[in-house]
Symmetry: C2
Subunit: 136 residues, 2 copies
């Protein structure tokens, strides 16, 4: 029986924030947008239908929690969510705060240019605000 | 009290396939990819968190149903799902069959070039296969 192990590319491109019930929550290392990623801690899962029905419901619940927190923290015009996985096959759900005039607005964040680093200070501050907004 | 009314742009850019419990299922008029859209038939909903928790679960259930059907019909390498809404604010969930070497692979379908029409014959055939795969 295999165990959950975070994909190396996701590990490299994002910082760990917290674990929610099913998912690990991570912050993408890209200062262009407040961009979170949820990774269900289950092995060998690529599509949502690979999860059990209970885990599918948990994923929805946790995605909504994170979406609301990100909307509160950023005041974004629109939250973009997506599960693509064309490059990294391990199931991961993107939750991105979008605002009019941001990089590539109103186009998608995926496949647009290259990541721009966020300072350690800014990363810590954003992470703290998101974690605070996630508190019950 | 307002009623559900399909956004005009969604209506123009896609063909009606069927109604599932919560959602209207539509096929995008773009021959580059087999591309479905689920639209929850609820008024004034832009983000998933605008839906009731029951509707959120229904949306997940219906998205998974449609994802599995599209995977069966196309044999795609990966299904891409996403809810962006930067242009059309009415909540709609994209479910797109992606295969290695398709248009813009492994980049996203959103914001890439312009739609290429699919013949009426091909549209009917694809729609029939999807509806067949959705049968219980």
């Amino acid at each position: 029986m295999s165990e959950f192990r975070l994909d190396e590319r996701l590990e490299r491109d994002s910082d760990f924030l917290t674990k929610i019930g099913l998912c690990e929550l991570r912050l993408m290392k890209d200062g262009r947008w407040p961009w979170l990623v949820l990774v269900p801690q289950r092995p060998d899962v690529s599509e949502v239908f690979d999860l059990t029905p209970l885990d599918q419901t948990m994923l929805t619940f946790e995605t909504v929690l994170v979406t609301e927190a990100l909307k509160t923290v950023t005041g974004a015009t629109k939250i973009n969510t997506g599960a693509l996985g064309n490059i990294v096959r391990q199931l991961h759900v993107h939750v991105v705060a979008r605002s009019e005039g941001d990089a590539n607005w109103p186009g998608p964040v995926w496949g647009h240019g290259t990541a721009e680093p966020r300072s350690t200070e800014d990363t810590k501050a954003l992470a703290a605000r998101i974690l605070d907004a996630l508190k019950p």
